[in-house]
């Protein structure tokens, strides 16, 4: 390999060039294009950056961004707790699972944003409504993946737990949940993107504050640079969520990845 012969400094430089090359190129092209274009909906990266600083750094962060983020966090947390709890119960009881399966498949198939009008009809428009909206969409992938994960627990493990007469709670904690955790994490990853979508849309629909509301407001008033800055902020939130999830997943599933590497080697 040629890479092995290069010095560490060149390697780092090459990696950095690969990581940043295309993004820098895109931003430069964007800047050139917007400077030449007469289209006023296309604003340059510097204008967006400036709008970003003016719009989101300062009181707007506490007024619009933090409430949105806390609703997102609350909704996700509630979805995980409810989804995993219900999923473990349904996954363990075969009759119950067969009873509920078609119903749950149906609920998962409903495009989550159409639940917004339903939740609004049932609860009116309050702060909790938006959290409930997030839960109403984000819970299904977690619930269904947990059911699958619990169901496919290795029978040798459950039988071992049986013959050692491991008490019910301990068994749940040290056999069932770890065995289901890869599937649960898959569910959480799907739920995260649904939750983010629902956070934005519920605010576009029924709100006078929050990120979704702000972005829609900027668009209606043709504040183009501000709108772009809002999109940028949502993108950053999406990336940050993905990074945090990646760290948590690596921690939770360390044993799992380790095991897979061991069997592959």
């Amino acid at each position: 390999m040629t890479a092995a012969r290069r010095s560490p400094a060149t390697r780092i430089a090459v990696n950095a060039a690969f990581a940043l090359g295309l993004p820098v190129l895109i931003v430069v092209l964007w800047g050139l294009w917007s400077a030449r274009s007469a289209n006023r909906f296309l604003v340059g990266p510097l204008a967006v950056l400036d709008a970003f600083r003016r719009t989101w750094i300062g009181p707007a962060f506490a007024d619009d961004v933090l409430p949105s983020l806390s609703r997102l966090a609350l909704g996700l947390l509630a979805s995980i707790v409810l989804g995993v709890a219900a999923g473990v119960v349904i996954g363990r009881l075969r009759r119950l699972r067969e009873l509920l399966e078609p119903l749950l498949e149906f609920f998962r198939a409903i495009p989550p944003p159409v639940l917004i009008p339903v939740v609004m009809l049932l609860l009116g428009i309050t702060g909790t409504t938006k959290v409930v909206i997030i839960v109403s969409g984000a819970i299904w992938p977690i619930l269904l993946n947990t059911i699958d994960g619990v169901r496919s627990t290795d029978s040798v493990m459950t039988e071992t737990a049986d013959s050692f007469r491991i008490p019910r709670w301990q068994r749940l904690w040290s056999v069932v949940l770890p065995a289901a955790s890869p599937r649960i994490m898959t569910g959480v990853r799907q739920a995260m993107s649904v939750a983010l979508i629902l956070m934005v849309i519920s605010e576009m629909f029924a709100s006078s504050s929050g990120l979704g509301y702000r972005i829609a407001y900027f668009q209606r008033n043709y504040l183009v640079a501000e709108m772009w800055s809002g999109i940028l902020l949502l993108g950053l939130i999406g990336v940050a969520l993905a990074v945090v999830f990646g760290l948590v997943e690596r921690r939770v599933l360390r044993w799992y990845h380790g095991m897979r590497e061991a069997t592959h080697a």
Binding site: G21, A109, L115
Partner: protein
């Protein structure tokens, strides 16, 4: 057999609970209408040509969006997946763009295309593209090294390699990506109609909501749920048929 009976019982039980909630006055019937009303509304809508026209509009933008996204993702995904330089160079950009929630782009789409179906298509294509793209990259990267070396020593041309080496390896991944993208595209098709207001089922939901027509809202939610189930079943079927030769499907059938 027992599964079908129990599942049916579950559905009936759900409808019974739904009926009981307004009957017992837990929620007023103007907010949660009786299931019988909703089903009657559905039966009437199904005979209405306007309903089918709206359904067709929604499914048209779904189909066009999915097709465009798939085409772009397969071409770009194959290129990026097979050329290591491109893969390294695009990695950070992809990791940044992929988690951007597609609905964040709705205002941008509205500014660029107006309150049109094209604005909805933009959103649908963006969301569905990543699902297929990522799977295609995984699939192309998954090529067995022995098979690749064999193909090379037998002197297969580029086209032959794509046909006999890359395609069979990547197909299962592509099918998974397609199934996910189909579901996402439907979600975004309906969402775009709700938010942007281009005609279709989504806009009908929003109109029913603002008119205070609870029966219509619930009826349309049931319709979109059924559509979701249908799309899912359709793509699972296609997946099974096109991968009938593949180990994962064969071993399942054998069980």
């Amino acid at each position: 057999m027992r599964r079908i009976l129990l599942g049916g019982a579950g559905l009936l039980g759900f409808v019974a609970v739904w009926h009981l909630v307004p009957t017992l006055g837990l929620v007023g019937p103007e907010y949660l209408p009786y299931p019988a009303e909703v089903f009657a509304w559905l039966a009437q809508e199904l005979r209405d040509l306007a309903f089918w026209r709206r359904l067709r509009l929604t499914m048209t933008s779904w189909a066009i969006g999915l097709a465009m996204a798939t085409l772009a993702a397969v071409v770009l995904g194959t290129a990026v997946g097979t050329v290591p330089f491109l893969r390294r160079a695009t990695h950070t950009t992809v990791e940044f763009l992929r988690p951007v929630p597609s609905v964040a782009l709705i205002p941008l789409a509205v500014l660029m295309f107006g309150l049109q179906m094209r604005a909805a298509l933009f959103i649908i294509v963006y969301a569905a593209f990543w699902q297929v793209f990522v799977q295609v990259i995984y699939g192309v990267a998954d090529i067995d090294t022995v098979a690749r070396d064999t193909a090379r020593s037998f002197g297969l041309t580029r086209r032959e390699r794509l046909r006999y080496l890359v395609l069979p390896t990547a197909l299962p991944y592509l099918m998974t990506g397609l199934r996910l993208a189909a579901a996402v595209a439907l979600i975004l098709a309906v969402t775009a109609e709700m938010v942007i207001g281009n005609p279709g089922l989504g806009r009908s939901i929003e109109l029913s909501r603002s008119a205070g027509d609870a029966v219509g809202v619930y009826g349309l939610v049931v319709v979109t749920g059924l559509l979701g189930l249908l799309v899912n079943a359709m793509f699972r079927f296609v997946e099974r048929r096109s991968l009938a030769w593949h180990q994962s499907v064969r071993s399942e059938e054998a069980r």
